[in-house]
Symmetry: C2
Subunit: 321 residues, 2 copies
């Protein structure tokens, strides 16, 4: 007997919905049915519906949430608007998958968490890095001592956020109402990896800069970090310089690892071995969400963990001065 | 007419004298004549003299400094002993080339500088990184805006200092009387590059760790840095983890550069170009020293600059907590 399909509605049809979700949805047709979508701009929702093969376009969030043929909604709106819609969807009895970061600030995230606990429906924060198989491989290596005694972690998110980048043009990103601009928006991803591998830092000593006036309120942050195990780290976020390279390096007494979007590379005794990731992280995330909603599986990634990831990177941008 | 040769005496015949100086001296026979050497252990001095083709071995520093057939002495002793011998050699009328760091601490370096100013003979601190042609290339790129507007500098000195490393066995390095152990001893090199490219940092926020008890007083330091231009940086020193990779990266709005011992690599618009160094830095340093002593050329690297390099890295190891 074929498994039941998750009947999903989409609120927000922006860059992420097109570039990141659609390829995953196409591979998950057996598990997820896109039933309806809505956007503040109806023309955008109609275009997305055509591209994604979604039969219905709703005129507003409320209409989407009230549909009785939906199990769940995926909310990808400007960060500062997310909390109110997450709560409205939960209140309407829908399971919710909401884009990262969990909220525009840690304070707003705590309020959202407290309010969301009053509802019984599942809520997953869509942090795709929590679903990367190669991140889990790294976690396992660290847990089993594959690198020897751990010494250092280095974060380096360096990228040129200019008109060639599709996220540059997003209006709410150019006049952000969330904490820390791109440094936080992009930084929560790698903060999630750091958090799950090393825990929350016990010391954060940071400096920030706003080099490019087109990227308010800041585009660069550097920090020295210390973790409960004694491991030290550096953090570099810079959205005003071009770079390719791993976003995370971990150094142990015997070996080191580089992690990027596509996999991990283990450096050991002068040799390097590449382990490409086994599955697209959005596909894994959506598949898990279907398991949670349809089969009542426990969440593999809790909103509390998503709040910690935000807290880690917010602490870096606020430790300035 | 052949140029005059610098008549040089060596005090200290340890790892650096064998592995770093000898190959350079062999290429500089036309410019430098090794006349005599001395070491605390006479057998070691005799062995070195045989290997280097040095005719005379003196029994002590005083005997070496009093020789009338020497223009200059090269002093490479345990860091904490350097200042007294630098001053004694200058007092004996010899020009001096002394190993980096300038002194075992900034305070000791300031005292040494004040005392050395009473003598008229030239004194060069042997910071070979100040004589790397590819470091000068990097300096020029930064000065002429080759990378665009400067954003970030990343220092990463990560290496496993264990029994396979010849410096590990040095007695005075295992029980260091100088500040910061290997982190300072090795760190002054890259501190010199940072200092000459970006100036002295205006902010240093650092954390340190002592992971390996065989490497007292500490083997690891991380820091967030800010420079007068507003450029931010991270600093990582770790002598208890294996790694290969560039020791310095600089990121600008248009391009980035990686620097290692052998050259620089420019990354620009998705392409990479390698610029190998043009000359061994020890050879360039010794050649310059001969120019200074024999031809009264001005010092290209002053003891004041060497003191700044030490101050930069000492500030990192002392900014702990």
């Amino acid at each position: 007997m074929p498994r039941k399909r998750l009947r999903l509605g989409l609120l927000g049809t922006g860059v992420a919905a097109r570039q990141l979700y659609l390829p995953a949805f196409r591979r998950l047709r057996h598990r997820i049915e896109l039933v309806a979508c809505a956007s503040r701009r109806r023309a955008k929702a109609l275009a997305y519906a055509r591209e994604a093969g979604i039969p219905d376009v709703e005129s507003c969030a409320e209409a989407l949430f009230e549909r009785q043929d939906l199990d769940a909604v995926l909310i990808s709106l400007p960060i500062d608007r997310q909390p109110e819609y997450v709560l409205a969807a939960l209140a309407a009895g829908k399971a919710v998958l909401s884009e990262k970061p969990i909220a525009p600030s840690v304070a707003a995230g705590k309020r959202l968490l407290a309010a969301a606990r009053r509802h019984r429906r599942p809520w997953l924060v869509g942090e795709n890095f929590a679903f990367m198989p190669h991140v889990h491989r790294l976690e396992q290596w660290l847990r089993t001592g594959r690198l020897g005694a751990l010494r250092l972690v280095q974060v380096a998110q360096i990228t040129l956020m200019d008109r060639n980048n599709p996220y540059f043009g997003t209006g709410w990103r150019r006049e952000p109402k969330h904490v820390g601009g791109f440094v936080v928006d992009g930084g929560v991803h790698v903060a999630e990896v750091v958090r799950r591998c090393f825990g929350m830092p016990t010391r954060v000593k940071a400096l920030t800069a706003a080099f490019d006036p087109a990227l308010p309120p800041l585009d660069t942050a550097v920090a020295a970090l210390k973790f409960p195990s004694g491991v030290l780290g550096t953090w570099t976020s810079c959205y005003s310089a071009p770079c390719t390279g791993p976003m995370l390096r971990v150094f142990g007494s015997h070996a080191s690892v580089e992690l990027d979007w596509g996999g991990v590379t283990l450096h050991e005794k002068g040799r390097s071995k590449r382990y490409p990731t086994e599955r697209d992280s959005f596909e894994a995330q959506f598949d898990h969400f279907a398991d949670v909603v349809l089969d009542e599986r426990p969440l593999k990634y809790t909103p509390e963990e998503a709040l910690d990831a935000l807290a880690l990177v917010q602490r870096i941008v606020e430790a300035r001065g």
